[in-house]
């Protein structure tokens, strides 16, 4: 087992399933025998605000919070949120981002502009960057709520963990009637990373 702790920062907007996705990752790595810790904030943040979840695994994990600048993987569910947490990444960190935009209030009101060309900005600073059509694929499959499972499919490619461990854990969290749809979502997400 590796000694080094792996740090994943999951970032998105309230209602996108950020917390469920990090719960599932924690469960997967506990099953594999790692120590896991995670941290997130509930409450006001859920009213359309920013949601982040820090997820860490390793031999022994102390802090549930990742030190600024120590994120190994930034797992962004929305473009602006991907950009917002960029400064928390290690210089050689990896980014996997949902190709999706949700306007914050100042943009809705016409007071500020939604930043342009976010994928290009990120790519110019970090070469290990992956864009996943999470929301788009979930909508094609018929349920936008499956976007987080598409994205989990994407991030699962970065770890040497068997597909069925991921799938079993994901489906455990979901009602039987949406299993088939989420199975498809997971594999469609995996296909996005190559």
């Amino acid at each position: 087992m590796e000694n080094n702790t792996v740090n994943v920062l999951v970032a998105g907007v309230g209602g996108q399933g950020v917390i469920l996705a990090s719960d599932i990752m924690a469960e997967v790595f506990m099953e594999l025998g790692y120590d896991v810790k995670k941290s997130e904030v509930h409450g006001m943040a859920m009213r359309g605000g920013i949601v982040t979840s820090h997820f860490r695994f390793g031999k022994k994990v102390y802090s549930p919070l990742i030190k600024e600048g120590d994120v190994d993987i930034l797992f962004a569910f929305e473009q602006l949120e991907g950009l917002r947490w960029l400064n928390h990444l290690k210089p050689n960190g990896k980014i996997i981002m949902n190709d999706h935009k949700i306007n914050p209030p100042a943009v809705n009101l016409g007071e500020m502009e939604y930043p342009k060309a976010i994928p290009e900005i990120i790519r110019s600073k970090f070469k290990d960057f992956y864009l996943v059509k999470g929301t788009e694929i979930a909508l094609e499959l018929g349920d936008v709520r499956a976007a987080n499972v598409v994205l989990l499919g994407g991030i699962s490619k970065f770890f040497e963990v068997k597909e069925d461990i991921w799938l079993k854990t994901i489906l455990n969290y979901l009602p039987t009637k949406v299993h088939e749809l989420n199975r498809k979502a997971f594999f469609a997400g995996r296909d996005q990373i190559y």
Binding site: V13, G14, D23, A26, E27, M30, D35, V36, K37, K38, S39, E40, V41, H42, G43, M44, A45, M46, R47, G48, G49, I50, V61, Y62, S63, P64, L65, I66, K67, E68, G69, D70, L80, E81, L83, R84, L86, N87, L89, P91, N103, P104, P105, A106, V107, N108, L109, G110, M112, E113, Y114, P115, I121, K125, F126, V144
Partner: protein, 608 residues
């Protein structure tokens, strides 16, 4: 068996394993999930949402008198509400073990202040345990009941947001059978705090405190981890994890019990370690008490911030000082913020829009509606604590006299009103105020994630129960004619609120609109509305409702003109996937540019 649990789930599990029989709470971030977990997972425990924290603690007191292990959980400011029973509960002690869980909120993720409740343990002379992860949350919870019974004292367990909402692996155990039998016992001199009896009890608790100090010296949760002796940290709770993360090889005195403090153990640590630093979040609680013992730490609050949450970054920065090199930011441009917002379809939006139109001074209270303080609504003008809106409006009215008539209003949610609003409303009537109070009855405790309360008609476990009638309650307090409004109907809402503001008597308006997320209250949502881009003038009337479903976009060329030739700079859009069809935007549009797809416009919803 091992399970990933949040600190709150682990606290609930600890209560279950300790054999708790009665658990009471009022919801409050970050404590809410403790009672929710008990209600969902541990059916043998009687669980209730009490109307407020004071009641919750009194319920726990009663259960303890009967010999049961019992608990009350609350957020940090909830302890202020429960402080009255708490301070004297310390005097009378317990029969069955009693634990008060306080969940503090450093960084104010969802709170009105950042108070450090360790001071309460010292203030009330009771022991306090502070876990540093989920496993300890469960272990210390169980231990707290033993300590409570052994020393005849209520015990406080302190969590913070990062413990309550952080998750880690917990080893599960079977529940124990508590040692105290459950029956009626009479011990009047111990439990009846007449001055003559209370004087005696004061002496007793001072003696108890000395015994607790001895316990703190022996308690294995106060432990030294001696490594590199050049630098040592005295720390507790989540701060321990942050320090350990950055400096795993230095020495530690990790305190699991933060009150009373183990003086001898601390002295030993100072002897064994060259330079001692005290790392703690918020106030210099450990530091001041340790300095008062005569020890001289090398650093504490001079290095680590007093405001906000600590984290590994701040611990490293504090210790290294000028030698600290922060990582270079990859991005420097400011980004649009994303503050929390009233949901699309929220019943508060219509009322707040009307209050804005009426240009009244609005005293706010604790709940989602305080978000209307943000632009574009910019309505709420003050907010300090649960129930304060009503007393504040009354006091302003008395100070302003004629000058304030028709110009001030208090808004308070249904759950908040039942928590702390009944008495101030009684005062409004009793002392002949002209205050206008609006109860925003959304039939749930919205901000904390939809918990039941005495006005919702359901218990914590979803059983139906009596539902407090706000109109009847208002009448009983002496309000002549409490009025009901539909907050999604702007014209009606404005008319009624205006009439009530003009009355020279106390008045009460009940704004009846269920929380848009409370599915059971709605027969169905309406069809999403749409902006007719040929008619929209880009006046932003709908945009200024602050609805997340409505956005404004600049337009150029051909698009910069309506079909009938009126110039425009931009147009509104409605995101159909977000719109539940409340029709507020339909009502504020002067150009008939917002289309409804219902047979006729519905101002609000068909509710149940």
């Amino acid at each position: 068996m091992r399970k990933i649990m949040s600190g709150n789930e682990a606290i609930a599990r600890g209560a279950y394993e300790a054999g708790v029989k009665v658990a009471a709470a009022y919801p409050g971030t970050p404590s809410t999930e403790i009672l929710e977990t008990i209600a969902q997972e541990y059916k043998d425990i009687y669980a209730e949402w009490s109307p407020n924290e004071k009641v919750a603690l009194e319920v726990a007191f009663g259960a303890s008198l009967a010999g049961a292990r019992t608990m009350a959980s609350m957020k940090h400011v909830g302890v202020n509400v429960a402080a009255d029973p708490f301070m004297t509960l310390s005097y009378v002690g317990v029969c069955g073990g009693l634990v008060i869980v306080t969940c503090d909120d450093p960084e104010l993720y969802s709170s009105q202040n950042e108070q450090d409740n360790r001071h309460y343990a010292r203030f009330a002379k009771v022991p306090m345990f502070e876990p540093s992860d989920s496993q300890e949350a469960k272990d210390f919870m169980k231990l707290s009941f033993e300590v409570s019974e052994r020393f005849d004292t209520p015990v406080m367990l302190r969590s913070v947001t990062r413990i309550s909402h952080g998750k880690g692996i917990v080893e599960l155990e079977e529940p124990v059978i508590p040692p105290v039998s459950i029956e009626i016992r009479k011990d009047t001199a111990k439990y009846t705090m007449l001055p003559s009896y209370a004087r005696i009890r004061h002496g007793v608790i001072e003696g108890r405190f000395l015994k607790l100090k001895e316990f703190a010296e022996q308690f294995p949760g106060n432990r030294m981890e001696l490594n590199d002796p050049s630098i040592g940290f005295i720390t507790a709770g989540i701060s321990y994890q942050y320090a350990k993360e950055v400096y795993p090889n230095y020495s530690y005195l990790k305190l699991g019990m933060v009150w009373p403090l183990p003086k001898n153990l601390i002295g030993d640590f100072f002897k064994k370690v060259k330079k001692v630093y005290i790392v703690e979040e918020l106030d210099p609680f450990l530091e001041k008490n340790i300095r008062a013992m005569g020890f001289k730490p090398k650093g504490g609050k001079d290095l680590f911030p007093i405001c906000g949450e600590l984290n590994p970054f701040l611990v490293e920065k504090g210790l290294l000082g000028k030698k600290f090199k922060p990582p270079k930011p990859a991005l420097k441009e400011p980004l649009p913020p994303r503050p929390p917002n009233l949901c699309p379809g929220c019943p508060h939006r219509g009322l707040m829009y009307v209050l804005k139109r009426l240009k009244v001074y609005t005293a706010g209270d604790i709940g989602c509606y305080t978000l209307a303080a943000y632009p574009p609504l910019s309505v709420v003008n003050n907010n300090i604590c649960m129930g304060a809106s009503i007393g504040a409006v009354h006091g302003m009215a008395k100070a302003l006299g004629e000058k304030g008539k028709g110009k001030i209003v208090g808004v308070i949610g249904d759950s908040t009103f039942l928590h702390a609003g009944v008495h101030p409303l009684m005062d409004v009537v009793y002392n002949k105020s002209y205050a206008t109070i609006i109860i925003l009855d959304n039939r749930t405790t919205g901000m904390t994630g939809q918990q039941e309360h005495p006005g919702s008609g359901y218990t914590i476990r979803g059983e139906t129960t009596h539902r407090t009638d706000f109109v009847e309650l208002g009448r009983a307090l002496g309000i002549e004619n409490p009025r009901r409004i539909n907050p999604w109907n702007l014209e009606e809402t404005e008319k009624v609120v205006k009439e009530e503001l003009e009355r020279d008597q106390p008045s009460l308006v009940i704004s009846e609109g269920p929380c848009i997320l409370l599915r059971r209250a709605f027969k169905n949502y309406n069809k999403p509305l749409q902006v007719d881009s040929t008619k929209c003038r880009g006046c932003k009337a709908c945009v200024n409702l602050g609805c997340p479903a409505i956005s404004y976009q600049l337009v150029e060329g051909e698009m910069a003109m309506t079909a009938d030739g009126k110039k425009r700079k931009g147009i509104s859009q409605i995101e159909a996937s977000l719109c539940p069809g409340c029709h507020l935007c339909y009502q504020v549009c002067k150009f008939e540019a917002i289309q409804t797809f219902e047979e006729k416009p519905i101002f609000g919803f068909e509710t149940m």
